[in-house]
C-alpha cells in the first residue's frame, strides 16, 4: 500500500495520545508530565528611560524617523569564559541590523555611542516595591549585568539588567507559586521587518524601564499558568506605578513535558493565549520524544548519522537560486509525524532554515507533504539520483549560493537533534496556539558584568522604609471581595484595572453596600467601558466622585447606573449637567407616591377585569424614570 502522509499525520497524532485542550483533563497533563513557569515582563511608569534621560513611552510609526544606522553583532565571551549558543547561532545568520532613530525619544546612549548614565532612581524604587510585594529576598547591592542579545534587538548587543531579589512567593487563590527572581532591565527595540539578511528595528521603546518576574516551573496545567500570569500582572498593577496598554506587559512562558526540555515561548502579549500555547508545546515535546524513540529503534549509530545532498542543476529557479535535494536516511514517516495542530516534523526543519539560513519563503518541499506539490514519480527520480533507500525521506530547498552551506548544516543539525529529543529553544507564538522556532535557548553563559556601571548599595533603612508603604497583597483583596459577596467573575477586571483601592474607598468612605459597589465596578463599569467611547480625561476616580456627589446630594445612588455612560463619554461634564442630560428632575417622594392612585385608575379604565400584577408592572413602568434617584424602587414597588 502506498504511503499516505496525511494518514500518517493523523495516525501519529493518535499514537502519542494528543487530545485537544478543551477535552484535556489533569490526568492528560499528568500523563505527559506537563510543567511550566513564567517570565512576566512589566514596563514601569516613569518619565525617563532607565539609563539615559530620554522620555519614556513616546512611540512613533515605523516610517517616521530622523536617521538610520547599521550594526553587526559578534559573539563575545561570558564572564566565565564561555561562548553562548544563541550568540553563535545569531552570528551564523550574518544579519545586517538597521536601527531607525527619532531624535525625540533616542539619544547617543540608545545607539551605544555614549556610556550609561546612573540608573533611573524612580524606576529602581518602583521595582524594589514590587520585589518586596513579591516577598523576594532583596539584594544588598545591585550589580548591573550585561545580558547578550545578538539578534540586534539592542544596539549594544546586550541588555543592561540587574537582579533586585531572589526566592519569592506568590499566593494564588488555590496554590502558592515560588519565584526565582525579579530583575530590572531596559526594554528592547521594536522590530519593523526581518527579510533575508536584513533586520530593521525602531528605537522608541528601547531603554524603557522594565521588570521581569521569573517563577519556578510550578504550574501543572495550562489554566494554572494563565492564572499565575494574571496574578503577577495584578500585583504589579496594584502599585499603580506600572504602564498599561498594548505591549506594556508581555510574558515568556517556559514549558516542558516529562523527558522533554525547557522551551521558552517568547513575547506572549495576552495571558488568555497561554493555555492553548502551553498545551500545544507540551504535546509537541511529547511528539518529539516519540520521534526520538522511533529513530533510536531503527538507526543503530546516531553519532554517524549524516545527510547526503546534491545540487539539482537541471532545475532552474527564476531567482537564479541554487536548488538542492537532501536525503535524510531513516526519516521515512517522520517528516509527516504530528508535532502541533496543522504542523509536522518537517516544519521543525523548515522553521530553522528560515531563521538560521535566512531563506525566504517559500524555500522548501519534502517527500511527505500533507498537500503534495510534486508527484510521486518526481520524488522517485530524486530518490534514484540521491541513491536513497525506502526508509529514507527527502527534502528539496532553494537558496542563494552563499546560504547553501548554512542551510545544509542546519538541516543536518536539526535532524541530529531529533535523536536527542527536544532541543532547547525559544519559540515565537501565534494566535492559533502554535509556535515556530525563534532562537537557540540562551543560558547563563551570556551574562557579563557591566564594566560601565558601579554597584548600587541598598541600605536596610531604605528597604525598610519602602516596605512600610506597600499596597495590600492582591490575595488579601481577593478574600475581601469574596467576603463582600462580590462575584469572582468580576475579579480579573477589577484587579487588572487596579480598581480595588477605589472600590474600597467608595465602600468605606461613603458607607455604601459593598456587594452593590463591587458589582457596580466589576460589571457595570466594565460593560460601559466596552460599550461607549471613552473620553480622554476619564479616570476611575471619577466613579468614586460620582458616588460621593450622589450621597451628598441625597440622590439615590442607583442613579449612577444611568449616569455612568454619560460620565464615561463626557468626563468633563459636571454631575448636575449629566443629570439634566439623562432627564432627571428632583421630585420629593410624596409627589411620586401621590401619582399612584391616578395611574392605577388609568390602567383600569375601560377594562372589565384588572390583573393586579399587570397593573403593578404598568404603573412601575410609568413611574420608573421619574422615581429613579428620587425614591428606592423596591420601596416604590411595595407601595404600589
Amino acid at each position: 500500500m502506498q504511503f499516505n502522509p496525511k494518514q500518517n499525520y493523523i495516525q501519529t497524532r493518535k499514537n502519542i495520545g494528543y487530545v485537544p485542550r478543551l477535552e484535556a483533563s489533569q490526568k492528560d497533563y499528568d500523563r505527559i508530565g506537563f510543567m511550566s513557569g513564567l517570565e512576566v515582563h512589566q514596563q514601569l511608569l516613569t518619565k525617563e528611560k532607565l539609563f539615559c534621560h530620554c522620555p519614556a513611552g513616546i512611540y512613533h510609526k515605523s516610517d517616521d524617523y530622523d536617521a538610520e544606522l547599521i550594526r553587526h553583532m559578534r559573539p563575545t565571551l561570558s564572564e566565565l569564559g564561555e561562548y553562548d549558543g544563541t550568540a553563535l547561532m545569531e552570528f551564523r545568520t550574518r544579519k545586517e541590523i538597521i536601527y531607525r532613530i527619532k531624535n525625540e525619544n533616542a539619544c547617543t546612549y540608545e545607539v551605544d555611542d555614549t556610556p550609561p548614565f546612573p540608573i533611573n532612581r524612580e524606576a529602581l524604587e518602583i521595582a524594589l516595591e514590587i520585589s518586596l510585594l513579591s516577598k523576594l529576598n532583596v539584594v544588598g547591592e545591585v550589580h548591573i549585568t550585561r545580558k547578550q542579545y545578538l539578534d540586534g534587538s539592542i544596539p549594544t548587543g546586550f541588555q543592561r539588567t540587574a537582579i533586585l531579589g531572589v526566592e519569592g512567593e506568590l499566593e494564588l487563590p488555590k496554590k502558592k507559586v515560588r519565584l526565582i527572581q525579579l530583575s530590572i532591565e531596559e526594554d528592547s527595540c521594536r522590530e519593523i521587518s526581518d527579510i533575508g539578511h536584513t533586520r530593521t528595528y525602531k528605537t522608541d521603546r528601547l531603554g524603557m524601564p522594565l521588570i521581569e518576574t521569573v517563577t519556578y516551573p510550578d504550574f501543572v496545567n495550562p489554566e494554572e499558568v494563565m492564572e499565575g500570569c494574571d496574578y503577577i500582572r495584578f500585583l504589579n498593577r496594584s502599585t499603580g506605578k506600572v504602564r498599561t496598554g498594548m505591549g506594556a506587559g508581555r510574558q515568556d512562558v517556559n514549558v516542558s513535558c516529562r523527558g522533554g526540555s525547557r522551551v521558552e515561548i517568547k513575547g506572549v502579549a495576552h495571558s488568555k493565549w497561554i493555555p492553548e500555547l502551553t498545551h500545544n508545546e507540551a504535546f509537541r515535546q511529547w511528539a518529539l520524544l516519540h520521534i526520538k524513540d522511533q529513530l533510536l529503534k531503527s538507526i543503530s549509530e546516531p553519532k554517524n548519522w549524516k545527510i547526503h545532498s546534491m545540487e539539482l542543476s537541471e532545475l532552474k529557479d527564476v531567482n537564479a537560486e541554487k536548488i538542492y535535494a537532501v536525503n535524510l536516511p531513516g526519516f521515512h514517516g517522520l517528516l509527516s509525524h504530528f508535532t502541533q495542530p496543522g504542523k509536522s516534523f518537517a516544519d521543525e526543519i523548515g522553521d530553522r532554515l528560515s531563521v538560521i539560513a535566512c531563506l525566504e519563503q517559500p524555500f522548501m518541499m519534502h517527500s511527505e507533504m500533507l498537500e503534495p506539490v510534486l508527484g510521486e514519480e518526481e520524488w522517485e527520480s530524486i530518490r534514484i539520483s540521491l541513491d536513497a533507500a525506502k526508509e529514507d525521506a527527502q527534502i528539496i530547498f532553494w537558496a542563494n549560493e552563499e546560504d547553501v552551506k548554512t542551510a545544509l548544516e542546519t538541516i543536518e543539525e536539526r535532524c541530529q537533534m531529533a535523536f536527542e529529543g527536544v532541543p532547547n529553544e525559544t519559540r515565537k507564538s501565534f494566535v492559533d496556539g502554535t509556535t515556530i522556532f525563534e532562537r537557540v535557548l540562551p543560558g547563563a553563559d551570556r551574562m557579563y558584568p557591566d564594566t560601565d556601571s558601579a554597584p548600587i548599595p541598598l541600605e536596610d533603612e531604605y528597604i525598610t522604609r519602602l516596605a512600610e508603604n506597600l499596597p495590600v497583597d492582591v490575595i488579601e483583596n481577593h478574600k475581601q471581595l469574596l467576603d463582600w459577596g462580590v462575584s469572582s467573575e468580576t475579579f480579573t477586571y477589577i484587579f487588572s484595572k487596579n480598581l480595588f483601592p477605589i472600590i474600597e474607598k467608595t465602600i468605606n468612605t461613603l458607607k455604601l453596600d459593598p456587594k452593590y459597589i463591587g458589582m457596580f465596578f466589576g460589571l457595570r463599569l466594565k460593560f460601559a467601558e466596552g460599550q461607549y467611547k471613552k473620553g480622554l480625561e476619564f479616570n476611575y476616580n471619577m466613579v468614586y466622585a460620582l458616588f460621593a456627589w450622589l450621597v451628598k446630594s441625597d440622590i439615590d445612588i442607583k442613579l449612577a447606573e444611568k449616569m455612568l455612560p454619560e460620565l464615561i463619554q463626557h468626563p468633563k461634564m459636571d454631575f448636575a449637567s449629566i443629570l439634566e442630560t439623562i432627564g432627571f428632575k428632583k421630585i420629593d417622594r410624596e409627589s411620586i407616591l401621590s401619582k399612584i392612585p391616578i395611574l392605577m385608575n388609568k390602567f383600569a379604565e375601560g377594562k372589565t377585569e384588572v390583573n393586579p400584577i399587570h397593573q403593578k408592572n404598568w404603573v412601575m413602568g410609568q413611574l420608573r424614570n421619574t422615581a429613579l434617584g428620587n425614591i428606592n424602587l423596591t420601596e416604590l414597588s411595595k407601595t404600589i
Binding site: L69, L77, G140
Partner: protein
C-alpha cells in the same frame, strides 16, 4: 596568599570571608536577615566598598550581599573560571601581504579585569584569529606585544620604542604595520610617529576601538579588518589613524597622523581630520582616496628613524584673566618649550606680557596654536598679536595644539638652537602645517562621505 584567595576584598568584607572560610570562586550559601542567597563568590573591584560580597547566582546574574545582614555563610564547593579567548593558529595564505601588528594595550582585544572592574587587553595572533577570523582573508599576520599600557599612559618612551620597532620591521621587509592602541591619545602617537619615522616605504596604521571587544557591537573587529587592509594593500605610505567614518558598521576613514584628533568622548566615529579632509575612505571591499596627493608605497627600505623626545615641553591653555604667575611657574620649573593654546586667531591677554618677556629672556621656545582648532594662527591682524610676536611667540600656522606639543618635544630632543628649532617647527614633515586649507575641510561631515560633499556642492553655505 590572601590576595589570591580573597581577590579584591578588603576591610570588613575580607574579615567576613575569612571568618566563614569562604574563598573567591567558592560556591556558597549565605543566610542573611534578608533571606538566603546561593551562588559563586566573585572577586571584587578594588575601588568598591568593603561592605558587600559579590555573588554570581545560578541564573548567571551578579548580586551584592551586604555583610551587615549576614548571619552565617558556608562554602559548598569551588569552581574557578577559566577565562580564555579561544586561540586558533593564524593561517598562512600565500599571496597575501604580510602585516605586523604591534600591541600597546588598549581595547582592541580585551578581557575583564577584576582588580579595577575594567577591561584589560588580551592579544596574540591566535586570540585575534579566534575573535576575528576574517583577518585571515586580508593578510598574513604576525604580532608583537611591544608593551601593555593604557592609552593615557602612552608617552615619550613608548613613542621611541615604537619608532625603533617600526624601523626594524621595515628592515625585515614587512608590507605594512598596524599598531593597536587605546583611543585617548591615538592622535598624539600618530603625530609622534610621523616625526620619528620619516620617508616611510609602507603604511603604518594606528587603530583602536571605542567599544571594547568584550561587547557584541564592538567596533574593534571592523576597525582591525580595515586597518589590516590599509596596511597590507593601500599605497599610502604614511602614519595614519584608521577608525570608523560614521557610527554605523559601514566604512572607516584613514586620517593623517598629524591632522587627526579625537573629537567625542564616546562616539565610534570620534576621530576627525581637522583643517583638511581625510586621506581615504576604507571598507572591507575597497579603499577610495579622498586626497589626491600623499606619499606612495615604495619597494625600498629607506626609512629614517628619528627617536628623540624632550620632556621639557608643556602646553598652556589660555583662559580670560589668566594670571602671569601661571607662566612664570612653568618657566621656573625649567620648561624649555611652551605651546600656547590661544583664543581666536591666537591671542592671550596683556596681563601675561611681563611673564612672556621673562620667558623670552630665559630662552624659552614659545609657539602659538588655536583653541578653535580649525583655521590658521594670524597674529598680524590685531595689535595684541604683533605685540606677542615681538615678545618671542611664534605662530604655528594651522598646526593642532597637541601636534605642536609633540613636534616641539621631538625637536628639543635634538637641538635647542632657536633658529634651528624655528625652522624645523615651521617646515612641515607631513602636513602638520598646510599651505592651504581646502574649502570643504571644515564643512565635510566626516561620517557622510560622499553624501555630504554632494550636499555641500548643492546647497548655499
Amino acid at each position: 596568599m590572601d590576595s589570591d584567595i580573597f581577590q579584591g576584598y578588603k576591610g570588613d568584607a575580607l574579615e567576613v570571608l575569612k571568618k566563614y572560610q569562604v574563598r573567591v570562586w567558592g560556591t556558597t550559601k549565605v543566610e542573611t536577615t534578608r533571606g538566603t542567597f546561593e551562588g559563586t563568590v566573585l572577586p571584587r573591584a578594588e575601588n568598591d566598598d568593603d561592605k558587600h560580597i559579590v555573588v554570581k547566582i545560578i541564573t548567571g546574574y551578579n548580586i551584592g550581599i551586604d555583610i551587615r545582614t549576614i548571619t552565617t555563610m558556608e562554602e559548598t564547593g569551588y569552581k574557578k573560571a577559566n577565562y580564555k579567548i579561544p586561540e586558533k593558529q593564524f593561517p598562512f595564505t600565500p599571496g597575501l601581504p604580510s602585516v605586523k601588528l604591534f600591541g600597546t594595550g588598549g581595547t582592541i582585544a580585551s578581557r575583564l579585569d577584576y582588580r579595577t572592574g575594567a577591561v584589560i587587553p588580551a592579544f596574540s595572533p591566535g586570540e585575534l584569529y579566534g575573535a576575528v577570523p576574517e583577518l585571515a582573508d586580508i593578510c598574513n599576520l604576525d604580532t608583537e606585544k611591544v608593551f601593555a599600557v593604557f592609552s593615557e599612559n602612552m608617552g615619550p618612551k613608548q613613542y621611541m620604542a615604537l619608532a625603533k620597532a617600526i624601523g626594524k620591521e621595515i628592515e625585515n621587509g614587512i608590507d605594512g604595520i598596524v599598531i593597536g592602541h587605546g583611543t585617548d591619545t591615538l592622535h598624539h602617537t600618530g603625530a609622534a610617529l610621523t616625526f620619528m619615522c620619516q620617508n616611510l616605504p609602507v603604511p603604518v596604521v594606528l587603530v583602536g576601538s571605542q567599544r571594547s571587544s568584550d561587547r557584541p557591537s564592538s567596533d574593534a573587529a571592523l576597525n582591525l579588518m580595515h586597518a589590516m587592509k590599509a596596511a597590507g594593500t593601500s599605497d599610502i605610505a604614511e602614519v595614519m589613524v584608521c577608525m570608523f567614518g560614521p557610527t554605523s558598521d559601514e566604512y572607516g576613514l584613514l586620517h593623517k597622523g598629524t591632522r587627526v584628533r579625537k573629537m567625542h568622548s564616546s562616539y565610534r566615529s570620534t576621530f576627525r581630520t581637522i583643517g583638511d579632509t581625510p586621506l581615504a575612505r576604507i571598507s572591507r571591499k575597497e579603499i577610495n582616496p579622498i586626497k589626491q596627493h600623499y606619499n606612495k608605497r615604495r619597494n625600498d627600505k629607506e626609512v629614517k628613524i628619528l627617536p628623540y623626545f624632550s620632556d621639557k615641553v608643556t602646553m598652556l591653555y589660555y583662559y580670560p584673566g589668566m594670571a602671569a604667575d601661571t607662566l612664570d611657574a612653568l618657566v621656573e620649573k625649567g620648561y624649555k618649550g611652551i605651546i600656547f593654546v590661544g583664543t581666536g586667531l591666537g591671542h592671550v591677554n596683556k596681563e601675561l606680557y611681563p611673564a612672556i618677556e621673562r620667558a623670552q629672556a630665559k630662552g624659552v621656545h614659545m609657539y602659538m596654536t588655536l583653541q578653535t582648532l580649525w583655521g590658521y594662527v594670524h597674529m598680524f591682524v590685531y595689535d595684541t598679536g604683533r605685540d606677542m610676536m615681538a615678545k618671542g611667540i611664534i605662530p604655528a600656522g594651522n598646526m593642532l595644539p597637541e601636534v605642536a606639543w609633540v613636534k616641539l618635544s621631538w625637536i628639543l630632543g635634538q637641538t635647542e638652537d632657536p633658529e634651528k628649532v624655528k625652522e624645523m617647527m615651521l617646515t612641515p614633515v607631513n602636513d602638520e602645517i598646510t599651505l592651504r586649507e581646502p574649502y570643504n575641510g571644515y564643512l565635510v561631515y566626516q561620517g557622510g562621505v560622499p553624501e555630504v560633499e554632494d550636499f555641500i556642492k548643492d546647497v548655499h553655505k
